[in-house]
């Protein structure tokens, strides 16, 4: 099973790599290949389409000012399930793509215990055992995996409707569907913040695909070590020394 997935992924990655382009300059590391980036932005696109069309069904009296963008309430309602399906399919591919780096490790449990210090910026650098993704990112990933499952099941029930599934199942499904959306929405604010303003230098990992070495040793030290073989703390100290001497006139 696992090997079948890997093979299928490898081929897709190759194809995407031959179409797209990633330039890694000196002093940078390749973070996300074209395949991951393409999937990520398809996920984001369909997520927001589903989210905004979903708002139009969630509270039409509040959101009816933007239903015309989707061609009116009825068309919006008719398209929403397809947007959702697109989101789930692309995220499903992404989930297979990222399954391996997203596996929970003891380092992540430590991270969670340390979270307060990290969030309050008390600790400038991540703990040395933080790998390709940190525990916060993993929590978000697994939340979306769970959310997608909930979306898919309840969404199909709502789509096919009460005549097939019965009115009670529909009445329950829409509550679960809503809760899932609200949790994800709350999470996405944090996600967008962390990958833009909250951690400058992160956004380019999803656009150009490459990050600076300094970004890597600061936020994902274990990954940095794995990629370069150098010790992240030492590398940082070296850079600090260089910076101060270099600044001397």
């Amino acid at each position: 099973m696992a090997s079948a997935v890997e093979r299928f992924d490898d081929k897709a990655s190759e194809t995407f790599e031959s179409v797209g382009r990633t330039t890694v300059y000196r002093g940078e590391l390749l973070r996300h290949p074209v395949y991951s980036r393409a999937l990520h932005w398809m996920v984001a696109l369909f997520f927001f389409l589903a989210l905004f069309s979903g708002f139009g069904i969630y509270l039409p009296w509040l959101f009816r000012w933007f239903t015309p963008i989707f061609g009116g309430g009825q068309l919006l309602r008719a398209m929403h399930p397809w947007f959702g399906l697109g989101f789930v399919v692309f995220f499903g591919l992404q989930a297979l793509n990222w399954l391996q780096p997203m596996i929970w490790t003891p380092a992540d449990s430590n991270w969670m215990r340390n979270m307060k210090k990290i969030v309050s910026s008390e600790e400038k650098m991540e703990a040395p055992d933080t790998g390709f993704f940190n525990a916060g990112q993993k929590v978000q990933f697994w939340e979306i995996v769970g959310g997608c499952t909930a979306y898919l099941i309840t969404g199909i029930i709502l789509w096919v409707g009460a005549p097939t599934f019965g009115r009670i199942l529909v009445a329950i499904s829409y509550v679960i569907h809503d809760i899932s959306a609200l949790i994800m929405l709350g999470g996405i604010f944090i996600h967008i913040y962390e990958s833009t303003f909250g951690q400058p230098g992160t956004f380019q990992s999803m656009t150009r695909g490459a990050v600076s070495e300094a970004w890597a040793w600061t936020f994902h030290p274990a990954w940095y070590k794995q990629m370069t073989g150098r010790d992240p703390v030492q590398a940082c100290e070296e850079a600090r020394r260089q910076m101060t001497t270099g600044n001397k006139p």
Partner: protein, 298 residues
Amino acid sequence: MADRKALQVEMISAHPGPVPGHGVQRNLEVCKLVDTTTCIGCKACEVACVEWNDMPFSPTTFDNTYQTMPETRWNFWNLIKFNEHQKEDGTIQWLMRKDQCMHCADPGCLAACPADGAIVKYANGIVDFNQENCIGCEFCISGCPFNIPRFNPETKRVYKCTLCSDRVGEGLEPACIKACPTGCLKFGTKDDMKFIAEERAKQLRENFGIEKAGVYDPQSVGGTHVIYVLHDATDPERYGGLPKNPEIPWSYTVWKWLFKPVLGTFALFGLLGVCLHYVTAGPRRTQPEPPRKGERNG
């Protein structure tokens, strides 16, 4: 739809704020009485409904019974449900029940509907769909305990019996009432119809020996503006699935009015949280940071 303005609105689906014009005038509640014991299954009411509401032709199906089609449709709002019931003495009884929207005092469809103004309840008790506001989400279908609203995939909107609100607004009786040849259908105020129904049930019990005869006006939805006289009021289910205790799922009451707005606001805390983080703790920068202005070494 101009003629509908004659009717005072009492409830509006998903409407924030008060209902305009409500309580200005006293309004009598109307009611349709269906006496299943005198219905002969002639289907004049079915035809009258299709005619008056100008609905496109809907093909009928034959399934060896006296029922026109299995269920009501978006363009067929009034269906005589036919059921055979075997009595204790072995004889067969034919049950004919006119199935249509019940015009509930607590309409589950209206409670479930998220679209402002797609469903209104008039002060006279009529529950009406305004298709121009309907987004076709079909929540009303799951909200309705009587399985009434029907989705039209072409217009992507939902339709059902209007209790001829356009006629009633002009002081006329509904079309089905006008067409009924046996007098099994009656129309008037809720009080009058309730009184006639109770009298009829009493007559059935006392003069005809139908001991379980009674009136169907389910209180679990606050009563309905279509009421039935049944031979056996203890078992309405046998009349083609008339629910004994029609109910509106809690998710359309508690969830929709309390948790939906509250949790929705909660999700925005994510936004608030990150903004606060930015101005208090501040962003996390890659290390080493260049020395700040004025710092030694700088």
